[in-house]
C-alpha cells in the first residue's frame, strides 16, 4: 500500500461514477483541488493536472464501517488506530466507528477525547463509540452526555451484552435526549452459557458446547420492545439468526428508530465450515447454520437489515493459535469485506452494484448522522476507486492490520479496491 498526500490537483478520468444517492452509474471525471471535489461529470480534462486513468473502474463514496475494534488503548499488539486505518484504507473504507471495549474501556469523556485526538493524525475518519455502562459492567450508565459532546457518535458495550433489562431500559431512555443509537450486543449470557459455536448438528458432532439461536433472538426481541417503549434509537449489531430478522422486520413496520447491521462472515459462512476447529471462525455471535445464513442474505436484500459492518476484531497469533475452547472470539474483516460481500450479494444473488455500494456507504452514514452526499462539488474528498471485474485471491499480502486472524485466505474474489481517498491522502492498494 502506498499512502501519499493528495497532490494539489488530481483528476480521476473516465471513471464509472457511481452515485448511491442519485442511484446512477455514469461515465465521468472527478477533479480534486486541495483535497476537495472541484468538478464532477463530463468535462474537458485540464492539461496541467496529474490524472489517474479510471477506464473500467468505479469511483464512488468511500465506504463506512460502523463496527470495528481498533484495540487502542491497551491492546496495541493486536491493532492500533494507525494500523487499523491502513486496514480500513485497504478495504476501501474512509470512515469507521470504533467500539469501546478497549483496555481501559472508552467510558468517559476523557477517553473519548483520547481517541479523537489520536485519530487526528490518522488517514481516515475515526468516530469513537462510547460505552453504555461504566467499565462496560452493565450496571451504571456512563456519562453519555459528556461523551457525546466530546465526539462519541453512539453507545455500546459491545462484546458484552447488557444483561439487565432495567439497565437497558434506562440507557435507552437516557439516550433519547441525545438522539444517538444504543447498540447492544444481544446474547443472553445464561442461554449462551459456555457456547463457543452455533448450537446444532455440527456442535454436537464436534463435541463443542453450543450457543443456541435463541440466546440472540430473545434479547433482540427484548431490546426492540424496550426501544419501542422508550422511543429510543436502537441499532442491532451483527444480526445472525432468522428469528432476529423477523423480530426486526416486524418492529420496523411501524418504527423508524430501528436499524440493523450484518457482517460479511455471517453472509458468507455457515457452521459446516467449522468442522476442522478453525479458530478464525470462532466469533460472537457464532456463525450459524445455512438456514440462518440464507435468512441474513434475504434480510439484507429486503432491506430489513440496513447495512454491512465488518466487526473487524484483530487478535494476536497467541490468542488464536490454540485449542478452540480457549481461542479468542473474532476475525479481522476490513480488507476482505468488499470482495466477500460482492461475491455473496452481487455475484451470487444478483444484487445491483449500486445497491451494494449503498449498503457500504449511505446506509451506515445515515444511521450515524454523517454527511451522505459525497459526490458533491465542494465536499472533502472521501472516495474509493475499485475494479468490479478484477479477479483476485485474498491472501496475506492483502492484509494491513497488525493481526492476521482471517478465515478468508484463499477465497477467489471478483472486485478489488484500487485507491482510497480520504482526509487529504490517497492510498494506492495493490
Amino acid at each position: 500500500m502506498k499512502l501519499k498526500k493528495l497532490p494539489k490537483k488530481l483528476l480521476f478520468q473516465n471513471a464509472e461514477l457511481l452515485d448511491p444517492i442519485k442511484k446512477t452509474n455514469k461515465k465521468g471525471n472527478i477533479l480534486l483541488v486541495n483535497g476537495k471535489i472541484a468538478d464532477i461529470g463530463i468535462f474537458e480534462s485540464p492539461s496541467d493536472v496529474k490524472s489517474i486513468d479510471c477506464n473500467g473502474l468505479t469511483l464512488t463514496h468511500g465506504f463506512c464501517d460502523l463496527h470495528v475494534h481498533f484495540r487502542e488503548p491497551g491492546n496495541e499488539d493486536k491493532e492500533t488506530l494507525e494500523s487499523g486505518s491502513r486496514a480500513a484504507l485497504a478495504g476501501g473504507f474512509t470512515r469507521v466507528c470504533t467500539m469501546p471495549n478497549t483496555n481501559p474501556p472508552i467510558d468517559s469523556p476523557e477517553s473519548v477525547s483520547y481517541i479523537i485526538e489520536k485519530s487526528k493524525d490518522c488517514p481516515i475518519y475515526i468516530h469513537p463509540i462510547g460505552a453504555v455502562t461504566k467499565g462496560q459492567k452493565g450496571i451504571e450508565i456512563s456519562e453519555m452526555g459528556l461523551m457525546n459532546e466530546m465526539g462519541a457518535v453512539a453507545f455500546s458495550d459491545d462484546g458484552l451484552p447488557i444483561q439487565n433489562g432495567l439497565v437497558m431500559r434506562k440507557a435507552l431512555e437516557y439516550s433519547t435526549m441525545l438522539g444517538v443509537p444504543i447498540i447492544n450486543h444481544a446474547e443472553d449470557d445464561c442461554l449462551r452459557c459456555e457456547g463457543v459455536m452455533n448450537e446444532g448438528i455440527i456442535s454436537t458432532r464436534l463435541g463443542l458446547p453450543g450457543n443456541p439461536n435463541i440466546a440472540e433472538s430473545t434479547m433482540v426481541y427484548r431490546d426492540l420492545k424496550l426501544a419501542e417503549m422508550t422511543g429510543a434509537r436502537l441499532h442491532v449489531p451483527h444480526v445472525s439468526t432468522a428469528t432476529s430478522v423477523d423480530h426486526i422486520k416486524h418492529m420496523k413496520s411501524n418504527n423508524n428508530n430501528i436499524t440493523a447491521e450484518v457482517t460479511p462472515h455471517h453472509l458468507f459462512f455457515n457452521d459446516e465450515s467449522l468442522v476442522n476447529y478453525d479458530t478464525n471462525l470462532k466469533v460472537a455471535p457464532p456463525i450459524r447454520n445455512d438456514i440462518s445464513r440464507k435468512a441474513m442474505v434475504k434480510g439484507i436484500l429486503e432491506g430489513v437489515i440496513d447495512c454491512i459492518a465488518t466487526d473487524h476484531a484483530p487478535h494476536t497469533l497467541h490468542d488464536k493459535e490454540t485449542t478452540f475452547d480457549l481461542a479468542a472470539f473474532g476475525m479481522i474483516g476490513l480488507e476482505s469485506c468488499f470482495g466477500i460481500v460482492k461475491r455473496v450479494l452481487v455475484d451470487n444473488e444478483g444484487l445491483s452494484l449500486i445497491n451494494l455500494v449503498e449498503l457500504l456507504t449511505t446506509a451506515p452514514r445515515k444511521i450515524m448522522g454523517f454527511n451522505c452526499d459525497l459526490l458533491k462539488v465542494g465536499t472533502e474528498a472521501e472516495l474509493v476507486l475499485f475494479d468490479s471485474n478484477e479477479k483476485w485471491i485474498f491472501d496475506n499480502d492483502n492484509v494491513f492490520s497488525k493481526s492476521i486472524n482471517s478465515p478468508f485466505y484463499g477465497q477467489k474474489l471478483t472486485g478489488k479496491i484500487k485507491y482510497t481517498i480520504s482526509k487529504g491522502y490517497i492510498s494506492e492498494i495493490s
Partner: protein
C-alpha cells in the same frame, strides 16, 4: 494400510478400516494369552503418552499396549495449570517431537486438541480422548467386545445410556456402531441428549425399561458428579430411579443382555454392583480388549512408511 495417518476420531473411518482394526485386535488378544506377551513389531519406535487430563486406566492400557509391541514409552502428564492459553501446548509438543518420536497418544480436555496438535508436529497422533468430542480407542474396544460376544456388529441392537451430551465415549460409539451397521438407541435425561443427535443415525428413547427390553447390549455411561448442581441432574437417587441399570430391571427382562461400561463405575448410581459383577457384564473383558485394541491401532498406524497416508 489405514485410510488416515492419525486416529483423531471414529467419525470418518470407513467400515473396512474399523473391521481391520478389530480383526487385528483379535490377533493381539492371542499374543496377550502367550507365556511371553511380546512381539517385536514396534521395536525402536518411540511413543509419547501426552496426558493433559488425569487418567490412570487409559494411560496404563496404552502403555501396556506399547510395551507389548516392544516400543519405547515416554509418559508426560501436564498439570492443569499448563492448560492456560497457549502455555505449554505447542511448545511441549514441538519439544517432544524434536527428540525424534514416532507417535503421540494424547488426552486433552479441549475438543479438537489432537487435531490442533497435528498442525505442528509430524508424528502420528492418536486421540485418547479430547474433551467431549471423541474417544476412538474406547469405541474400538467396545465394538471388539461386541464382536467377541455376538460374532458381529451388523444389525445388533445397542443402547447407550447416560449423559450423552458430555460423553466422548457416546459419540465415538455412535459413529462406530452406525458405520458398522448396528441399531443404536440412546437413553438418558432429555436435557442431556442434544436434539440434533438423531441426525447421526440413532434413535432416542427416554424409557429405560423399553430400551433394556429392546437391546442386545447396553453401554452404561458414567454419571459425572460435576453434572449435578448446574441444573442438569437433580440428584443421584433420581437418576438411579429413572435410568439406573438396577438388578431389578435386569432380572425383570427375559432376554440376557450384555452389559458394558467404560469405567470407572459409580456403583449404585448408574449401575448396581450386582449387575456390574454379574455374568452378563463384560466390563473386565473390555479392559483386556482395550490393550489388544490399542496394540492393533498402534501396529496399523505405525507400521508403514509415509507417503501412503492422508
Amino acid at each position: 494400510m489405514l485410510s488416515h495417518k492419525h486416529l483423531l476420531g471414529i467419525e470418518d473411518f470407513p467400515r473396512e478400516d474399523i473391521q481391520n482394526i478389530i480383526d487385528t485386535a483379535f490377533n493381539f488378544r492371542e499374543v496377550l494369552d502367550r507365556p511371553i506377551k511380546k512381539v517385536p513389531s514396534l521395536q525402536g519406535m518411540t511413543v509419547v503418552n501426552l496426558f493433559f487430563e488425569n487418567s490412570t486406566r487409559t494411560r496404563i492400557s496404552f502403555e501396556l499396549a506399547q510395551k507389548r509391541l516392544s516400543a519405547d514409552t515416554v509418559n508426560f502428564s501436564a498439570s492443569t495449570s499448563s492448560l492456560k492459553k497457549g502455555e505449554g501446548f505447542k511448545d511441549t509438543a514441538q519439544n517432544i517431537e524434536a527428540m525424534k518420536i514416532d507417535a503421540v497418544v494424547m488426552r486433552h480436555p479441549a475438543p479438537g486438541a489432537p487435531k490442533h496438535l497435528t498442525e505442528f508436529i509430524d508424528a502420528i497422533v492418536i486421540n485418547a480422548g479430547d474433551g467431549t468430542h471423541e474417544h476412538p480407542t474406547q469405541a474400538i474396544l467396545d465394538m471388539m467386545s461386541l464382536q467377541e460376544k455376538f460374532g458381529g456388529i451388523k444389525d445388533l441392537n445397542v443402547a447407550i445410556v447416560g449423559d450423552i451430551d458430555h460423553s466422548r465415549v457416546a459419540r465415538s460409539n455412535i459413529y462406530g456402531l452406525v458405520t458398522m451397521g448396528a441399531n443404536v438407541t440412546l437413553c438418558g435425561p432429555p436435557n442431556l441428549i442434544p436434539d440434533t443427535i438423531i441426525d447421526l443415525g440413532v434413535a432416542v428413547n427416554y424409557n429405560i425399561d423399553e430400551v433394556i427390553e429392546w437391546a442386545d447390549a447396553i453401554n452404561v455411561l458414567r454419571i459425572q458428579r460435576e453434572r449435578m448442581g448446574i441444573g442438569l441432574i437433580p440428584s443421584e437417587r433420581e437418576y438411579r430411579k429413572l435410568f439406573g441399570i438396577t438388578e431389578e430391571r435386569i432380572n425383570r427382562n427375559k432376554k440376557e443382555i450384555v452389559i458394558m461400561h467404560p469405567g470407572p463405575i459409580n456403583r449404585g448410581v448408574e449401575i448396581d454392583s450386582g449387575v456390574a459383577d454379574s455374568d452378563q457384564a463384560i466390563i473386565l473383558d473390555q479392559v483386556l480388549n482395550g490393550v489388544a485394541s490399542r496394540m492393533s491401532i498402534l501396529y496399523l498406524l505405525l507400521g508403514s512408511k509415509d507417503g501412503d497416508m492422508k
